[in-house]
C-alpha cells in the first residue's frame, strides 16, 4: 500500500446552465481513481457551486499512481432522469510522485467536455503521501523525473549520462472510427482519452524502471508519440536519454555555471574530456539549449548521395544515378516479389519474437529468407565497411559530411507484408550486385534529371575528403586513444543514442553528419497487446541501421536522435534520424566527473571548431568527400558542408546570423492498396529524399552558408501523394570553408538567346547570394568574389564536373586529396520549365525587415532578448481542387502554402519587431485525398529592448513579488525553503509539507494588482482610443459635482480576478528569467468533436476554439502545480478529420512540455514604479 492519494473538491464557477427552467444547475462531482469513486453533495441551483468537500482518500499501489490519472467528473443532478455530465478533468498525478517536483496540485481547472469544449471551471486540491517502497521487485518507478527538454535541464547538473531508453506499448483502438458508432461520441471519446492516458502512464512507468535499472534518476529529452494505426491498433512509444541528474543548489550555482559556460569558450572541448559541465547553461546568455527537435516527424533518410560511392564512373553522373535509382527500385520490387509467397498474412515464425525489448539482443533480422542474401550483411551492424557492399553504400550516403547529412538511402525498406521485420536497408544493398536494368532507368531519368548534377557534385566532393577528424597531427594519437576509450564505453550499449540536442561542454567531440533510416511497413492488427514485438522489431531494425551508419562514419554514437512515423491507411513509414558523433566517454561513466572538473586541461585545440573536425580516418575514408583544413585552427580537416540534427553548440564559432532553410516537395503517387502501395511508396522515397536534399543544399548555398542545424525531414504519405518537408537552420560556421557559388548551366549551349537567359538567371542568383550575405551579416575575410562571379565554365566541363567549391587554404593544399581545385557548384537546367521551377524554388521571399527565423533554440548572433515572448500554433489545410496536377504544379502550390503561412506569421507578429521566430516547427500531413495540412508551432521573441517592454517587465516583476507575498499567506502548509532532498527516492512520509518550494505559488501574477499598475497607462490608451473613434462621446463627459459624497472607485479594479499568467515556449529556457524549479512533465491528449460544425464557425472556428482550449488546459495544469511557465512545449499530434456533409468534425491533439517555475532575473526593478501608482490597492474591492 505504498501511497495515499487525497483529493478535495473546493468549488466551481461559470458552470453552464443545465436546467432551462431555472437557468441554473444542480451540480455535484464524482472523483474517481482506479476503481474507487467518491461523490460530493449536490450543490443546488447555482452556477458557482461551493462544495468544499472533505478529503477523499484513495489507498493505492504506486504502480497505479503512475499509470492512472485522477478523474473528476462534474454532473448535473436530475431527480427524474439520468444525471447529465457537464464535463471532466483528468489530472496526471505523476508530478507529485517525485520529491523534487510539485508537492500539491491546487487550482482552477477547465471542465472539459469532448463535445462542448470547456464548460466552466472547478477548483481542486490534490496531494499524495508516498511510503517508501523497499520491494526490489516492484513494478513502479516513482521518483524518476521526466523532461521533454532535450538538454540537461537548467538548474541541474548531469552526473552521468547513461544513454538510450525506449519502450512501446500497444493496444487496440476499438473506437478509432468516429463517424458511425454505437456508443455515443462522448462515451467513445472519453474511453479513448482514458485509454491513451493509461497507456502513456504505463509507458512512462516502464521507461522509469529501465532508468532505475541503469542507475539513473531522470529521463531527459523524453519523446513520446502516438501512432494511431486505425484498425491495427494504437501504439504509444517513447524514447529518451537516461541520466543521473543532480540539482544545483541555489541560484548562485546557476550563475556560476552560466559564467563558466560563457567565459571559457577557450577550453577545448575535444581534447579536454574533463571539461566538466558544471552546470547548466543559463538561459539567455548561452545560445545553446536543447531543442526538442526530435519532434515526431523527422524523416530523413536516404540521400541520393550515395550514388557516388558507386563504382560506376564518377565522372558520368547521369548514368550512375540512373543506375542507382534503378537498382533501388528494382531491388525493392524484387524483394517484394520474393517475399510475397513466403510471408502470408500471418507470417508465422518471426524470428524476432525473442523479446524485442531485451537489450543487447543480437540483431537477427537476417533470417527471413527472401532478403537473406543481402539482409544479412546489412544487419551485421558494424562494420567493416569494405567487406560488404552494403556498408559501403551506406557510408556514402550517409555520411557525408559533406553533403551533409546524407543519410542512408537504405531506409527504404521493402514493403513486404506486415509482421515480418525486414531489414530496412536491404533494398539498397544489391546495388553493386544488380546491374541496372535499363528500362527502369529510363523512366526514372526524367525525374532525376535536374538533380543529377548535384549528386554528382556531392559525390565528388565527398570523395575528396582528407583524413578523419583525428588526423590532426599532434592531436592524433591522443584522440585515437580517447576514442578508443569512449568506444568501449559505448560499445557495451545496444544503442549508443542520445535524444539530447545540446550538450554539456566537453561532451561532444566531433560531429560527422546526419544519419537516418526509413522503412515502409504494412500494418496489421496487433493480436496480442501484451507482446508488441512486431513494432519493437521494426524500430530495432531501424536503430541497428542507424547505428551501422554511424559506425561507417567513424562515429560511435548518435546524438539528436529522434523517431517518427507517418501512417496512411495500412501503410506506415517509420523514420529515425540523428547525427553521428564522437562523444567524450567520461560523461558516460560513473564517478569520473569529479575527476574531470579537476583537470580541465587541454588547450591545444581551438574552441568552437573542434566539433566540426571529421572523426573518420583519412586513410580509410568510408566514402569520397572533400575535406579542407579547418579555417579556425588550420590543424585538422573539416568537411565543406555539415548537416546535423542537433542545436548549435554553445561555443561554436559562427559568422553572422542564421536563417530558416526549408526544402519542400510534393510527389504524386498512384492510388493503390496494400503491398502495391507500399512498393510504390518505397520506390518514390529515395527520389523524394534526394530532391529534398538537393534543395536544401541549393538554398543553403544561396544563403551563403555552410552548415545546417536542427535538420528535420518529414515525409508524409497520403493516398495519392507524398509530401516532404525538410527544415533546418542554416548558419555559417567559421571553421568550415566558405561555400561556393551556384553555377547555372544549360543543356543547349549553342543557342544564343538561351545563353542569355541562363546568364540572367545566373546573375540573379549571384545577386541573391550577395544580398543574403548582407542580410545575414556574413562577412568573410577571404575573397569569395571569384566564386560568385566566376564565369560559366566551358560547356563540357560544366556538364561533367561538379565539385563543391572549397577555399582550401594554401599551406595544406598539397595534402588536399580532393579531386579538384576550385569548382563552383553547378546546376544544370534543361528547359524553361525547369528554369522557372528552379528559380521559384530558389527565390523564397526574404523575411521582412526586423524578422529572423530559425528552427533551433536560438539564433546565432542575437543575444539581447527581451522578456517578450509569444508562443503560437497555426494550422492550415489546403484543398487541391484540381485533380490533374503535375508534380511541378503540386510543388508550386505546396511551396506557396508554406511561404504564405510564413508571411502570415510575420504579419501577425509585426508588433514584436525586431524579433526572431525560434523553433519554427512545421508538421505536414495529408489527411485526405486532396488535402494538405500544415501545422506550425513556434515562439516569437523580441530581442531589442525598448521602453514599453521595460515598463511591462517591471510591472510584471512587481506584481509577481506581490503575488508571492499574497500567496504565502494563503498557503495551507508552511513550506520550507530549499528543503530539496537530493535523493529522488527519499521517503515522502511527511507529505507535501516538506516540499521544497517556497516559490511554489510565487510566480503567479495577479491580474488585478497588475491591472492597477497599468491603470495610468490604460487611461492614456483609452484617451487615445476616444480621440480616434469617430462620433463617440466619451471624452467630454461632464464632471459630476465634486461634493458628491460617494466617490467612485478606481475604474480598473477587477474584482476577484486572479488568473495567473503562464508562459509557454517550445524552447528550453525563458529569456531574462531563471528557471528555479521543474515541476514535472506535461503530457496531455485531448479529443474534441462536434456535430454542429457550421454553428461553431466551420472547421476554422472549431479548430481555433479547440487549440485555445488546449492551451488553456495546459496553462491551468501548470498553474495548479504552482508553475508559471511551460518550456520545451510541443504539439506532437494534431489529427483533424471532418465530414461536412454530416456537419461533423473531430480533432485529436497531443501536447507535451515541462512545467517550471521561473523568476525574473531583475526582480528588484519591480519596486520602482510603485510611486506612480495611481490607485492605491486598498481601493480594490475585496
Amino acid at each position: 500500500m505504498p501511497g495515499k492519494l487525497k483529493a478535495k473538491i473546493v468549488a466551481g464557477r461559470h458552470l453552464p446552465v443545465m436546467d432551462r427552467a431555472s437557468d441554473l444547475t444542480d451540480a455535484f462531482v464524482e472523483v474517481k481513481f482506479g476503481n474507487t469513486t467518491f461523490k460530493t453533495d449536490v450543490f443546488p441551483k447555482s452556477l458557482n457551486p461551493q462544495w468544499n468537500s472533505e478529503w477523499f482518500k484513495f489507498e493505492v499501489d504506486d504502480e497505479d499512481l503512475q499509470d492512472e490519472p485522477l478523474q473528476i467528473t462534474v454532473l448535473d443532478h436530475d431527480t427524474y432522469s439520468a444525471n447529465d455530465a457537464i464535463g471532466k478533468v483528468y489530472i496526471d498525478i505523476d508530478p507529485l510522485l517525485s520529491s523534487e517536483a510539485a508537492t500539491v496540485i491546487s487550482g482552477w481547472f477547465p471542465i472539459y467536455d469532448t463535445i462542448h469544449g470547456i464548460r466552466g471551471e472547478i477548483n481542486v486540491l490534490v496531494k499524495v503521501d508516498l511510503f517508501n517502497d523497499l520491494n526490489r521487485f516492484r513494478q513502479s518507478s516513482c521518483g524518476v523525473r521526466f523532461f521533454c527538454t532535450t538538454s540537461i535541464p537548467l538548474c541541474y547538473r548531469a552526473v552521468v549520462v547513461h544513454g538510450f531508453v525506449e519502450e512501446l506499448v500497444v493496444n487496440e483502438d476499438p473506437e478509432y472510427q468516429w463517424i458511425d458508432r454505437i456508443r455515443t461520441p462522448r462515451a467513445s471519446n472519453e474511453a479513448r482519452q482514458r485509454l491513451i492516458s493509461l497507456m502513456s502512464g504505463e509507458l512512462q512507468r516502464k521507461i522509469g524502471l529501465k532508468v532505475l535499472e541503469m542507475g539513473g534518476n531522470a529521463v531527459v529529452g523524453y519523446l513520446q508519440c502516438f501512432d494511431l494505426e486505425g484498425e491495427s491498433g494504437l501504439v504509444v512509444r517513447a524514447i529518451g536519454t537516461a541520466c543521473t541528474l543532480e540539482k544545483l543548489s541555489g541560484g548562485g550555482a546557476t550563475n556560476n555555471a552560466q559564467h563558466t559556460a560563457n567565459s571559457s569558450p577557450s577550453k577545448d572541448m575535444k581534447e579536454s574530456p574533463k571539461a566538466c559541465m558544471s552546470g547548466c547553461r543559463s538561459s539567455h546568455s548561452s545560445p545553446v539549449h536543447g531543442a526538442a527537435s526530435r519532434l515526431a516527424q523527422s524523416f530523413s533518410v536516404s540521400y541520393p548521395t550515395l550514388l557516388f560511392s558507386g563504382t560506376q564512373g564518377s565522372n558520368r553522373p547521369r548514368p550512375s544515378l540512373r543506375a542507382r535509382g534503378a537498382s533501388a527500385a528494382q531491388s525493392l520490387a524484387s524483394a517484394a516479389r520474393q517475399c510475397r509467397p513466403v510471408f502470408g498474412d500471418e507470417c508465422p515464425s518471426n524470428p524476432l519474437s525473442s523479446g524485442p525489448s531485451t537489450p543487447l539482443r543480437a540483431p537477427p533480422f537476417t533470417s527471413f529468407s527472401p532478403s537473406k542474401s543481402y539482409s544479412r550483411q546489412s544487419s551485421s551492424s558494424d562494420t567493416d565497411i569494405s567487406l560488404t557492399p552494403k556498408t559501403v553504400l551506406f557510408p556514402a550516403r550517409l555520411c557525408l559530411y559533406l553533403s551533409p547529412s546524407s543519410p542512408a538511402l537504405s531506409s527504404v525498406a521493402p514493403p513486404i507484408s506486415c509482421q515480418t521485420s525486414r531489414p530496412p536497408g536491404s533494398g539498397m544493398a544489391p546495388r553493386s550486385t544488380t546491374p541496372p536494368p535499363s528500362h527502369v532507368a529510363q523512366s526514372e531519368v526524367s525525374m532525376l534529371r535536374k538533380s543529377v548534377s548535384f549528386s554528382e557534385d556531392m559525390l565528388l566532393a565527398a570523395s575528396g575528403m582528407g583524413s578523419g577528424g583525428s588526423a590532426g597531427k599532434e592531436a592524433g594519437p591522443l584522440k585515437i586513444l580517447l576514442r578508443q576509450q569512449t568506444q568501449t564505453a559505448l560499445e557495451q550499449r545496444e544503442f549508443p543514442f542520445f535524444t539530447l540536442t545540446s550538450f554539456p561542454q566537453g561532451f561532444l567531440l566531433h560531429v560527422a553528419g546526419v544519419v537516418s533510416a526509413r522503412s515502409v511497413k504494412l500494418l496489421d492488427r496487433i493480436h496480442n497487446p501484451d507482446e508488441p514485438e512486431t513494432r519493437d522489431a521494426w524500430w530495432e531494425e531501424l536503430r541497428q541501421e542507424i547505428k551501422s551508419h554511424a559506425r561507417a562514419l567513424g562515429c560511435h554514437a548518435v546524438v539528436g536522435y529522434s523517431e517518427s512515423t507517418s501512417i496512411c491507411e495500412e501503410v506506415c513509414i517509420l523514420s529515425a534520424s540523428g547525427t553521428a558523433a564522437v562523444l567524450n566517454c567520461r560523461f558516460l561513466q560513473d564517478g569520473c566527473l569529479d575527476v574531470l572538473s579537476e583537470h580541465r586541461c587541454d588547450d591545444s585545440a581551438p574552441p568552437g571548431c573542434g566539433f566540426c573536425h571529421v572523426p573518420y580516418d583519412e586513410l580509410n575514408m568510408p566514402f569520397p568527400a572533400q575535406l579542407s583544413p579547418c579555417c579556425c585552427c588550420h590543424r585538422t580537416k573539416v568537411p565543406d558542408v555539415l548537416f546535423t540534427t542537433i542545436d548549435l553548440p554553445t561555443d561554436a564559432q559562427v559568422t553572422g546570423k542564421g536563417c530558416l532553410i526549408q526544402a519542400r516537395l510534393c510527389r504524386l503517387k498512384k492510388k493503390s492498396q496494400g503491398e502495391g502501395n507500399a512498393t510504390c511508396i518505397s520506390n518514390l522515397l529515395p527520389f523524394l529524399e534526394y530532391e529534398l536534399h538537393t534543395q536544401l543544399l541549393n538554398k543553403l548555398k544561396l544563403c551563403g552558408m555552410n552548415a545546417l542545424f536542427g535538420l528535420c525531414i518529414q515525409i508524409s504519405v497520403g493516398e495519392n501523394m507524398l509530401v516532404g518537408l525538410a527544415s533546418a537552420t542554416g548558419v555559417y560556421l567559421s571553421a568550415l570553408p566558405s561555400p561556393g557559388g551556384i553555377q547555372i548551366a544549360g543543356k543547349t549551349p549553342n543557342d544564343l538567346t538561351y545563353d542569355q537567359h541562363v546568364s540572367s538567371i545566373q546573375r540573379k542568383i549571384n545577386d541573391t547570394i550577395v544580398k543574403n550575405r548582407e542580410l545575414y551579416e556574413i562577412h568573410i575575410t577571404e575573397v569569395a568574389e571569384d566564386v560568385i562571379g566566376s564565369p560559366i565554365p566551358e560547356p563540357r566541363q560544366r556538364s561533367r564536373l561538379f565539385r563543391s567549391h572549397s577555399e582550401s587554404s594554401d599551406e595544406l593544399s598539397e595534402l588536399d586529396l580532393s579531386h579538384g581545385k576550385k569548382d563552383a557548384f553547378v546546376l544544370e537546367i534543361d528547359d524553361t520549365d525547369a528554369v522557372e521551377d528552379l528559380h521559384s524554388l530558389l527565390t523564397d521571399a526574404p523575411t521582412p525587415p526586423g524578422f529572423y527565423s530559425c528552427n533551433t533554440e536560438i539564433m546565432p548572433g542575437i543575444y539581447n532578448w527581451t522578456s517578450a515572448i509569444q508562443m503560437f500554433t497555426s494550422v492550415r489545410v489546403f484543398r487541391l481542387n484540381n485533380a490533374n496536377l503535375t508534380n511541378l504544379g503540386l510543388n508550386k502550390i505546396f511551396n506557396e502554402l508554406c511561404e504564405n503561412l510564413l508571411k502570415s506569421l510575420y504579419f501577425k507578429l509585426r508588433s514584436m519587431v525586431p524579433c526572431c521566430l525560434c523553433r519554427l516547427n512545421f508538421t505536414v500531413a495529408v489527411p485526405e485525398d486532396e488535402l494538405i495540412q500544415v501545422a506550425v508551432t513556434a515562439v516569437a521573441m523580441s530581442f531589442h529592448k525598448d521602453q514599453t517592454q521595460e515598463a511591462n517587465k517591471a510591472a510584471q516583476a512587481h506584481s509577481q513579488m506581490k503575488a508571492i507575498a499574497e500567496t504565502e499567506e494563503q498557503l495551507q502548509f508552511p513550506l520550507e525553503l530549499n528543503a530539496e532532498s537530493a535523493s529522488p527516492l527519499s521517503p515522502k512520509g511527511s507529505g507535501p509539507q516538506d516540499g521544497s518550494n517556497s516559490h511554489g505559488r510565487a510566480p503567479s501574477v495577479d491580474y488585478s494588482s497588475f491591472a492597477d499598475r497599468c491603470s495610468s497607462w490604460i487611461e492614456q490608451l483609452r484617451l487615445r482610443a476616444h480621440t480616434i473613434r469617430r462620433g463617440s462621446i466619451k471624452t467630454s463627459s461632464s464632471p459630476l459635482p465634486e461634493g458628491r459624497s460617494r466617490s467612485l472607485r478606481s475604474t480598473r479594479s477587477f474584482p476577484g480576478s486572479s488568473v495567473s499568467v503562464v508562459k509557454m515556449t517550445p524552447l528550453s529556457f525563458i529569456p531574462g528569467a531563471k528557471i528555479v524549479k521543474y515541476l514535472g512533465i506535461i503530457n496531455m491528449f485531448f479529443i474534441r468533436e462536434t456535430t454542429s460544425l457550421r454553428e461553431e464557425g466551420g472547421v476554422s472556428g472549431f479548430l481555433h476554439a479547440f487549440i485555445a482550449e488546449v492551451f488553456a488546459m495546459v496553462r491551468a495544469h501548470v498553474a495548479a502545480l504552482g508553475g508559471n511557465a511551460v518550456v520545451s512545449y510541443s504539439m506532437k499530434e494534431c489529427v483533424f478529420m471532418e465530414n461536412p456533409n454530416k456537419n461533423q468534425a473531430q480533432c485529436l491533439i497531443n501536447v507535451s512540455g515541462d512545467a517550471v517555475i521561473f523568476t525574473r532575473e531583475s526582480d528588484q526593478e519591480g519596486h520602482l514604479p510603485q510611486t506612480s501608482h495611481p490607485q492605491p490597492t486598498e481601493d480594490t474591492p475585496p
Binding site: E121, M871, F878, L931, C1014, L1021, G1031, L1048, R1049, G1101
Partner: protein, 357 residues
C-alpha cells in the same frame, strides 16, 4: 485550390485594436479587409491581400469567441480560455461597451424591449450605423439595464462594478438606464436639437440630486427612481406664483439684481411672471409620472423657447436663473428654501445645458 482551414492561436491572445473596432462597427470580413487595405495595412511587410484576409478572419473569430465573455465582463477577467493582458482586457471591455451617441440618442428614453429592438433597422438606416453594431449597442443597454435595475446603491458605481467600465462610460450608462427606467420623452421634434450628451448631463444631475441616494448616503434605496417625497413636496413651491405679493416681490428682487447686467432686461422684466410660472408649474406637476416623462419637453417649451425667441444670450439666462434662485431666500414668507435649492439647482444646470441651437 483553396485554403480550407486557417487558424492562428497565440498563447497570449493577439488582438489588433483597429480590427476590433471594425468588428465592433459591424463590418463583414471582406469590408474590413477593404478598409484595412485603404488604411495602408498592405504596406506593412508587403502583406498580400490573402495575408490580410487571413489575419482579419482570425481576429474576427477570436472576438466572436470572446463576445460571450464580454456580456459579463467579470467573466473575462477570470476565465482561463484566453490569456489576455489586463490592459488589453480593459480595452476590450471598454470598446465593447462604447456606443455611438447618435444611436444612443435614438434609443434614449425608450423601453428597452423587443419592440424597440425591431425598430433597429430604421435606426440603422437613419444613423448609418450598421445593424449589427446597433444590435450590439442595444443589447448592451438592455443587459446593463437588467443587471443594474434592481440593485441597491449608487447607480454609476453599480455599473462600474459589474461591467468594469471607465468612469465616463459608466456615467453614460447610468444616464441610459435612468432614462429608460423613467421613460423620459426625448423623441419629440422640439427636442431633436438636443444631443445625447446634453441628456446624459441632465440625467447625471437628476441622479445625483433628485433620487433617494442623493440625500441618504447609506441608502437602502436605489438610484434609479426619483425620490417620491421630494417630488411631493415640490407642490409647496406653488406659493411662489399663487401668492401675488410674493410673485411681485420676487420679480422686484430679481430685477434689482439684474439691472444693467443683462442685455435683455426689458424682455426679462416683462416676461418674469410667465417664466416663473412655467418653472414652478413644472415643479408642481412632477408628482405625476406622465409629467415627469415630459420634463424635458416642458422645459424647452415653457422656458427655453420663450427665452430664445427673445434672443437671450446664455449669459443672460445664467444670471437670471442664478438670481431667480437666490433671491427666493429673501422672500419673507417663503419657507421651502431647501426644496427650492434642490429643485432649482438641477433645473438651472439642465436649462443651461439645453440652451443652445
Amino acid at each position: 485550390m483553396s485554403v480550407e482551414l486557417d487558424v492562428f492561436v497565440g498563447n497570449t491572445t493577439i488582438m489588433d485594436e483597429e480590427v476590433y473596432q471594425l468588428w465592433l462597427d459591424g463590418y463583414t470580413v471582406d469590408d474590413a479587409v477593404a478598409v484595412r487595405m485603404e488604411g495602408g495595412a498592405l504596406q506593412v511587410f508587403e502583406a498580400s491581400m490573402e495575408v490580410l484576409h487571413s489575419d482579419t478572419m482570425d481576429q474576427f473569430r477570436t472576438f466572436q469567441m470572446c463576445e460571450r465573455l464580454l456580456y459579463y465582463p467579470s467573466k473575462l477577467t477570470n476565465q482561463l480560455l484566453f490569456q489576455i493582458p489586463p490592459q488589453k482586457q480593459a480595452m476590450l471591455i471598454e470598446r465593447y461597451y462604447e456606443f455611438d451617441s447618435t444611436f444612443a440618442r435614438e434609443v434614449l428614453g425608450k423601453k428597452l424591449s423587443k419592440g424597440t429592438k425591431k425598430d433597429l433597422d430604421d435606426i440603422s438606416t437613419k444613423t448609418g450605423i450598421t445593424l449589427k453594431s446597433c444590435r450590439r449597442q442595444f443589447d448592451n443597454f438592455k443587459r446593463v439595464f437588467k443587471v443594474v435595475e434592481e440593485l441597491k446603491g449608487p447607480l454609476v458605481e453599480n455599473v462600474q462594478h459589474h461591467f468594469l467600465l471607465s468612469d465616463a462610460l459608466a456615467r453614460d450608462y447610468a444616464a441610459i438606464v435612468f432614462f429608460a427606467n423613467s421613460r423620459f420623452e426625448t423623441g419629440k421634434r422640439k427636442l431633436q436639437y438636443l444631443s445625447f450628451q446634453d441628456f446624459a448631463f441632465c440625467a447625471g444631475q437628476l441622479i445625483s440630486n433628485w433620487t433617494v441616494g442623493a440625500v441618504d448616503n447609506m441608502m437602502e434605496d436605489m438610484d434609479v427612481d426619483l425620490e417620491k417625497d421630494f417630488l411631493h413636496n415640490l407642490k409647496e413651491l406653488k406659493i411662489l406664483i399663487n401668492d401675488k405679493d410674493m410673485l411681485d416681490q420676487h420679480r422686484n428682487l430679481v430685477c434689482a439684481q439684474l439691472r444693467g447686467k443683462i442685455t435683455v432686461f426689458g424682455e426679462m422684466e416683462a416676461n418674469f411672471k410667465n417664466l416663473s410660472r412655467a418653472l414652478v408649474n413644472i415643479a408642481a406637476k412632477l408628482t405625476h409620472t406622465k409629467d415627469v416623462r415630459d420634463l424635458f419637453i416642458d422645459l424647452v417649451e415653457k422656458f427655453v423657447e420663450p427665452c430664445r425667441s427673445d434672443r437671450w444670450a446664455i449669459g443672460d439666462v445664467r444670471l437670471f436663473l442664478t438670481h431667480y434662485t437666490s433671491t427666493a431666500h429673501s422672500l419673507d414668507s417663503f419657507r421651502y428654501q431647501q426644496i427650492w435649492e434642490r429643485y432649482m439647482g438641477v433645473i438651472k444646470s439642465c436649462i443651461l445645458k439645453m440652451y443652445h441651437d
